[in-house]
Subunit: 510 residues, 2 copies
Amino acid sequence: MKKLTLKAKPLDMETGRNIVVIHEMDSQEIGHFPGDRVRLITEKKTIVAIANETNKLVKPGELGAFREVTEALSLKSGDLVNVEIAPRPQSVVSIKKKMMGGKLTYEEIGTIIRDVVDGNLSTTEMTAFVVSEFIRGMDLDEIVALTQHMLNTGDRIDFDREHVVDVHSIGGVPGNKYALITVPIVAASGIIVPKTSSRAITSAAGTADVMEVLANVALSIDEIKKIASKVGGVLAWGGAVNLAPADDIIISTERQLGIDPRCQLLASVMSKKLAEGVDSILIDIPTGPGAKVESIEEARSFAHDFIELGHKLGVQVEVAVTYGGQPVGHNVGPALEAKEALETLLGKGPSSLVEKATSLAAIMLELGGAAAAGLGKEMALEILRSGKAYQKMREIIAAQGGDPDIKPEDIPIGDKKEVVVAPYSGYVTQIYNQNVNEIARAAGAPRDKGAGVVLLRKKEGKVDKGEPLFEIYAEHESKLEEALEIARRKFPFKIEGMLLEKITHRPRVV
Amino acid sequence: MKKLTLKAKPLDMETGRNIVVIHEMDSQEIGHFPGDRVRLITEKKTIVAIANETNKLVKPGELGAFREVTEALSLKSGDLVNVEIAPRPQSVVSIKKKMMGGKLTYEEIGTIIRDVVDGNLSTTEMTAFVVSEFIRGMDLDEIVALTQHMLNTGDRIDFDREHVVDVHSIGGVPGNKYALITVPIVAASGIIVPKTSSRAITSAAGTADVMEVLANVALSIDEIKKIASKVGGVLAWGGAVNLAPADDIIISTERQLGIDPRCQLLASVMSKKLAEGVDSILIDIPTGPGAKVESIEEARSFAHDFIELGHKLGVQVEVAVTYGGQPVGHNVGPALEAKEALETLLGKGPSSLVEKATSLAAIMLELGGAAAAGLGKEMALEILRSGKAYQKMREIIAAQGGDPDIKPEDIPIGDKKEVVVAPYSGYVTQIYNQNVNEIARAAGAPRDKGAGVVLLRKKEGKVDKGEPLFEIYAEHESKLEEALEIARRKFPFKIEGMLLEKITHRPRVV
């Protein structure tokens, strides 16, 4: 094994993992290729880093060390470091096996996930793993292993009691604020619901963005456990805690490629929920045109995988396939959704939202043993109607540091507003989820909490030319303009005459 | 489209492509995700760059610009730059299509290759392309398109005449110095052989490393054309010229993953050779245990693809399947191979090398019209025996700035030497190519030109315990030690008794 002794040259930049650069002459000397790993040895410590070669940034004899390496080895300029080629980590061999179409063992997946969490894989290797997952897929055994290792490499909550239930929606439908109603309904029955959720990625508002309008969502593991144990429910942001951190890293690569490998999605959801210490999980699969899952067959296949996976992982899983072909309720955007959720808890919610929130709560009440089979829906509606859910939501808001007395009308909505009307008469045959999202995002959501869209009409129903269809709210005039521009280019309503197709019968000339 | 105006902060580091960093608050403001592209607009110019987010390297309101961006936009510290999200380039859509298993069109492949050459793809996207090529493969139409676009995005030589022939070995066998004999034989017949070759990647010596012992190999396009036109033959390093540069970039990603997608290999060889302006190509596929291609079936399948591809590209291709199960000749390492090649040209070569070099030359003589079908071998042997090949090699060496009068014994070989003997008696049933390479590399090859291995025995044949098997040469004592250490751990000879297995028949006890 060839070794070189190089002089450290700290480079003041963070790279997110251990990276060094060496001059291409030194690189050739030790038989190194770009992206190979090197072992860096000082008197006190040895670490492995990914090395790139350069002919400008350092001179021959120098080791350019980015901040992570400088800190790990406590390097000062001119310190001597022994450098030698390190073997490829075992996980790279396993990634290649998956690339070749092989089935990975429990241990192999464990090694990959450990290296993902430790930042030991180069961008090239991470990408090869994600693309191979996407193309080759994984079978149930592999997904179980993936889930368990993602779970084991992060923090976990343990509630020391039964009847801990959570719900997760795989997303893709705008205005999906059901959790702010479902969680307090279920928590009001005595079941613990330690819900963590994400911020918006490509949508106008994630559950965490909506809840943040009412209370603090950046809670620690201890706070989540304390609040859920005391109040029954919590609505926290998953990004503030270290539950299944491998998943967050993998998702960042997926997003850059615009892919979402099914095996990773399954393991992602299950590991995040298991880390919350639940004993049963409800999965909501919004299904319909423009949702993440478009057909009922695909939804059923997904549901089957989730249930099988739960079975293997020793956790009870139920799946609800809900209608996701248009936004849930009317409001889209953090503050607008928080407002609509509070109104719903106060008995003035739109039927689609009440229906979705109570249907999901019903299943959770039965899963958690609060309601007998078949009686969950009645109980959920009763908890909502009686005001107990609203009362529970006040407790949750207070526990998370918000104002429990807040009224829907107190919630500040953007003061720049535009109403868009029907350009012609006809029937609303489709509302395009993606376009609604884009308009709300252009208006400033989710960053501008008060920005968003209110749908005055939903799918199915006649509209007259000039009748208001939707409102856009923004906090800044320029963003209102941008949103209007998007609304013109990507109109969110499809309006058609009753006569969808005209077939003319021409009498045959004999 | 959200826009930000940021102040340039030049970062003095080259990254190989257009990369900027922006603060995560600004990143969120324009709705950017790590790895997305941004359009950078100044008064004079607009470019697209890949943007990463940071919370340390720049402050909010600043645009961290690495050297490529700073230079492209002539940025000075504090210059104002408008930044907006740029759409994903079309090639990213096409890469996803290949990931999904689709067939790419001629235009789609063209867009990808253009973006590869222009540095427009992120590491993640480049990797997704290479992994998808590896897993999904490409059909003949796609490989034709890949070859043509790799060819068209680089420089080309045009000889304005017919009978330009080259040979390419797909490699994997140590001591493969045949080209230094084959090229002068063919050139001596009046055919033009503008051979470019690579330096060693994982082997002990590439053809370019061997030729460099005798002459200058870093020639320009013009020099290659001039020398080949005047002398008939040239032996240049491909890395010094810009022939099919996309290939060099793609190969770097392949190497990091240890994969070699067949479609890419086919397109790589064909584009490099077509760029040399040849009208026919001989492909050598060394086949046998420890070679790149191990079975004759695989070699035939490869040969079929090369011939089909040549047909589609309008160039004549012949394929020679040669024995690659042990090193060619005896010497491995730049100077040792140059010495053996010169000895062979002077009529004192080992039979395996003479046989390989003249067999390949025979096919090229027939391809180039110098010999009638079936008479190439006789002609090749005659040119070698008569000394005409040696004379031509002297001309080539002189044209490339070397000393034409050099004798084999003038070539400096490392003066540190060790002889390794047979540890026991038996038959040489295998020589491990990979181990021979590793020993030669540990001894210092290819960087130390005089380092390498001389095989005193080859496969098949009885050896007695204590009989010399191979010599190791090095320029430095420490490297000789390293090479000996490797030789002990990875012994390159398999020596077995004649009795390969002993089966004992036990009489049954009745």
